[in-house]
C-alpha cells in the first residue's frame, strides 16, 4: 500500500490581508497511517487540517499548491464536487465537540445525517452502523445512547460521538483537531485509546493535530513540527521524541520533558500562616460545589489545588474572595476573620488578596490602555498622585518583563502571554499578600506558559507573595508548589507537601490523576491500559 491516499503539494494559504498562514507545506498520508501535526497556536496546524479538505476559514484563501485525494486533485473540483467529497472521503473532528453538535437534535440523528445525505446508506443502515460505532467507541448502552440530546452526554462521550459522526461515511481520511485538549486527563486517556483502536480497526488514514507532544506520541506514526506556517521538521515519532534535529523541535521536547520532572527546591517553606480556611461549605443555588474543605496558605508559600473540571477548585477560590457565599465554616486571613460576602469586606482586606484569571483576553478591558489597567489599583488603594502612579506603572511593567512604553497601548494590542503579564502587574499593583491564580497558564502556549511560570516564581522570590495556585496540570504543580491539595467532586481528598503527594504511598485518586498524565514515550498508552486492565481484574 505505497499509494498515498492524501497528498498535499506546496499548499499555501494566506489571509485576505496577505499574511501567509501556511507556507508551502507538502505531506503524504498512507492508509492506516497517522501523521501528527504539532506546534504552538498560530503555527497553522488547524489551517492545514482544514486545507486538506480544501476548506479555508473566513478571511483565508488557498492561494497555491495541490491537494490530492486518491490521486484526484480536489482544488480542480467544483464547489458541489468538493462538498460531495467532504464527510464522505475525508472527515473533520473538532476540538470542542459540545460546539459541534446542534443542541436541538438527538445525537443519533446528527450521526446518521451524513451517510443518508450523501446517499450512501438507507436510514436503517446508517442507524445500525452508528450503533456499531457507538459500541466500538465504548459508549454506554450503544443501542439507546443515540437517543440522548447533546447536553445529556459528558464531554468525553460527546467527543467520542463526534468521532462516530466523522466515521459515519467510512471516510478514508480523518482530521483530528485537538480532540482531547478540552478533556480532563483521566478522560483523555480513554478517548485516545479508542481513537487509536478505531483508526487501526478500519485502516483509516489520519491527521492528528495537537500542541501536546506526549499526546501525539501515543497515536502518531510520524510527526511534523510546524512553526509560523512553515514545516520545521518531519520524522518518525521516535526520532522526533528522542533525537530531534532542529533547535525548535529540541526546545519543544525539552520543555515538555521539564514538565515531567520533580522540582528540587519545592520544599515546604511553612512560615507564619496567612490564609486559613476551615470546614467551608459553598453553595450555588441548589448545588453544593465545595463540601467541608479546609486549606491553609503560609506567608510566601505556594499551595496548589488540583482536580478535574467540576471538582470545585475554582469555586473554592471564589469562596475565598467572597464571590461565592459560604454557608458555613470560617476563612481567616492574616489572623482576622473575613466576612463571607465581598460587599462586607474593607478596602484593605480586598487589596491583600488579588486574583489572576485563566483567560487574559477577557480579564482586561479592551477599551482601556495598559497604563489605565495597572494604574487604577494604585490610585484606588493608595491615592497616589497621577505622576507617582505613572512612575509605579513603569516600574511594574519592568518587573513583569514588559517595556515601559507599553503603558500607552491598548490592551488588545498584546499577545496572550503579554496580556497575562499585564494581569500579573495589575495584581502586584495592589501590593497583595496573597495572589489566587486560577489556571493562569492553561490558555497559553507551552513555551509562553513556561515563561509565565518562571515570572511567577521570580516574583515570589523577590516580593515574598503567597500563591494559591489552581490548576489541572500536574506538571506545573510539581515545579512550583510547596504544598498540594487534591480535590474531587467538591471534597478535598488529599493534601500535603508536594514531594509527599507525588511519591508513594499515593491516595488512590491522586495515583489515578498522576498516571493519566501522558508521558513522552510511544509505549506509554499501551502500558497504562494493560496496567489498569490488570488492576480491574
Amino acid at each position: 500500500m505505497a499509494e498515498a491516499v492524501l497528498k498535499l503539494t506546496d499548499l499555501r494559504i494566506e489571509s485576505i490581508h496577505g499574511v501567509v498562514l501556511v507556507d508551502n507545506i507538502s505531506l503524504e498520508l498512507k492508509r492506516g497511517e497517522v501523521l501528527g501535526l504539532i506546534g504552538e497556536s498560530g503555527a497553522g496546524k488547524s489551517t492545514i487540517g482544514l486545507g486538506s479538505m480544501v476548506y479555508a476559514r473566513a478571511g483565508c484563501r488557498i492561494t497555491g499548491g495541490k491537494v490530492e485525494i486518491d490521486g484526484e486533485s480536489v482544488r480542480d473540483l467544483s464547489a458541489d464536487g468538493r462538498r460531495d467529497l467532504r464527510g464522505k472521503r475525508i472527515a473533520y473532528i473538532a476540538q470542542s465537540a459540545a460546539a459541534s453538535f446542534n443542541p436541538a437534535y438527538r445525537i443519533i440523528d446528527q450521526v446518521c445525517e451524513m451517510p443518508v445525505k450523501h446517499g450512501l446508506m438507507s436510514k436503517a443502515e446508517a442507524r445500525a452502523w452508528a450503533v456499531e460505532l457507538f459500541k466500538a467507541l465504548d459508549l454506554p448502552d450503544p443501542e439507546k445512547f443515540g437517543n440522548r440530546y447533546p447536553h445529556q452526554a459528558s464531554g468525553g462521550q460527546l467527543q467520542r460521538a463526534m468521532t462516530a459522526m466523522a466515521m459515519s461515511c467510512r471516510p478514508d481520511i480523518l482530521v483530528f483537531d485537538e480532540p482531547t485538549t478540552a478533556l480532563d486527563v483521566t478522560t483523555q486517556i480513554e478517548v485516545l485509546a479508542l481513537i487509536k483502536k478505531l483508526i487501526h480497526n478500519y485502516n483509516t488514514a489520519a491527521l492528528y493535530i495537537t500542541h501536546d507532544l506526549a499526546v501525539v506520541a501515543q497515536v502518531a506514526d510520524r510527526i511534523m513540527v510546524l512553526r509560523h506556517g512553515k514545516m520545521v521538521e518531519l520524522g518518525d515519532t521516535k526520532q522526533i521524541l528522542l533525537a530531534p534535529k532542529t533547535d525548535y523541535a529540541r526546545a519543544l521536547v525539552s520543555e515538555r520533558k521539564a514538565a515531567d520532572k520533580l522540582s528540587v527546591e519545592a520544599e515546604a517553606a511553612h512560615g507564619e500562616p496567612l490564609l486559613n480556611v476551615q470546614n467551608v461549605i459553598g453553595q450555588y443555588e441548589h448545588f453544593i460545589a465545595v463540601k467541608n474543605v479546609s486549606i491553609s496558605v503560609a506567608k510566601g508559600e505556594t499551595v496548589a489545588v488540583v482536580g478535574e473540571s467540576g471538582s470545585g477548585k475554582s469555586s473554592l477560590a471564589r469562596l475565598i474572595v467572597g464571590l461565592l457565599p459560604r454557608r458555613s465554616g470560617s476563612v481567616r486571613f492574616g489572623g482576622k476573620e473575613l466576612p463571607p460576602a465581598l460587599k462586607q469586606r474593607s478596602k484593605d482586606e480586598l487589596r491583600r488578596i488579588q486574583f489572576i484569571y485563566q483567560q487574559p483576553d477577557i480579564a482586561l478591558n479592551p477599551r482601556q490602555t495598559i497604563g489605565e489597567v495597572i494604574g487604577r489599583p494604585i490610585a484606588f488603594y493608595f491615592n497616589h498622585p497621577a505622576a507617582e502612579v505613572k512612575q509605579r506603572v513603569a516600574q511594574l511593567l519592568t518587573q513583569v518583563g514588559l517595556p515601559e512604553d507599553y503603558a500607552k497601548r491598548l490592551t488588545t494590542a498584546l499577545s496572550g502571554g503579554q496580556k497575562q503579564r499585564v494581569c500579573i502587574a495589575r495584581a502586584l499593583a495592589a501590593e497583595p499578600d496573597l495572589i489566587i491564580c486560577d489556571e493562569p497558564t492553561s490558555a497559553l502556549d507551552q513555551l509562553v506558559a513556561e515563561d509565565i511560570l518562571k515570572l511567577v516564581k521570580k516574583l515570589q522570590d523577590e516580593l515574598g507573595v503567597a500563591y494559591l495556585f489552581i490548576t489541572h496540570d500536574l506538571g506545573i504543580v510539581r515545579r512550583i508548589a510547596h504544598r498540594t491539595a487534591v480535590m474531587l467532586r467538591g471534597e478535598m481528598v488529599d493534601q500535603g507537601p508536594t514531594p509527599k503527594i507525588f511519591s508513594p504511598p499515593f491516595h488512590p485518586y491522586t495515583e489515578r490523576l498522576l498516571s493519566s498524565v501522558p508521558e513522552m514515550r510511544t509505549e506509554w498508552l499501551d502500558e497504562i491500559l494493560t496496567q489498569r486492565a490488570r488492576k480491574a481484574v
Binding site: I16, Y55, L350, Y357, I362, A430
Partner: protein
Amino acid sequence: MRIFGYKPTASAWIGIAIVGIFVFAAIFAPWIAPYGEADSVSDTWSPASADFWLGTDNIGRDLLSRVIYGARTTIGVALVTTILSFALGTTMGLLAAVSSKAVDQALSRIVDVMLSIPLLVFALMILSMFGSSLGTLVLTIAVLDSTRVFRLARSVAINIVVLDYVEVARLRGERLPWIIRREILPNAMPPMISEFGLRFCFNFLFVAGLSFLGLGIQPPLADWGGMVRDNARAIGFGLPAPIWPALAIALMTIGVNLIVDWILSINARPSGASAEM
C-alpha cells in the same frame, strides 16, 4: 475621505449629504429662509413662483421658509428627545444589568408594562392630560422611547458584566457607578451608537405624526408634521403644498437610515468572506 477611520460607502455619502443639508438649514434658518417663520406674505396656496419657490401655505406663508424653519423644530425636538431617552434608557439598562436580580426584575417588569401599551395611545393619553407644551412633548416621548433603549442596553451589558475584567473591578471594591461608566459603557457603545440613529428616526417620525394629529408642536412654530396637516386639504384642489414637508420627512428619514446602515455594517463587518468553500 475617512470618518472615524472608516471610509463611507456611496449610499452613506448620500445620507451624509441629505442630513448635512437639513442640519445646515436648521442651524442657519433665520439667515437662509427668504421670509419669516410666521409671516403671512401672499395669498392662500399661491403656486410656485420666482418669489415663492415652493408656493405658499393655507394662510399665505412661504412654504420654503416654513420647511427650513421646520427643520429646526422637528429635528431639534427629535434630537433632544433621543438624547434624553438614551441617557435615561442606557443608565437604567446598565444599572439593571449590574445590579442584583431583584433590581433587574423590578426595572425590567416596569418596562414590560410600559411596552405592552401601544406607544401612540400612551402618548395621546399623556399629552391630552397634561397639554402639549414643548417640554411635555419632549419628556413624554423620551420616557416612552427609553423603554426600548433600556431593552437594548440591558441585553448588551449583560454579556459584558459576566466578563472577568468586570469581576476584577468588583473584587477591587469599585463602586457601581464607576464600574458602569469605566468598564461597561465604553464596551457597550458601538451597538448603542447605531441604535441611536434608528431611534432618532423613530422619534422624528413620531414627533411628525403627533404634530399631524394636532398634539405635537403647536403653531405658529413651523414643523413638518404640522405643515402636512395644515395643508392636507390642498390635495383636494390638486395643489402640491403638503408634498414639500412630507418629502422633507421622507428624505430626512432615508438620510439617517443610510448613515445608520453604514455604521451597522462597520459593527457587524466580518473579517472577510471565505474564498474557497
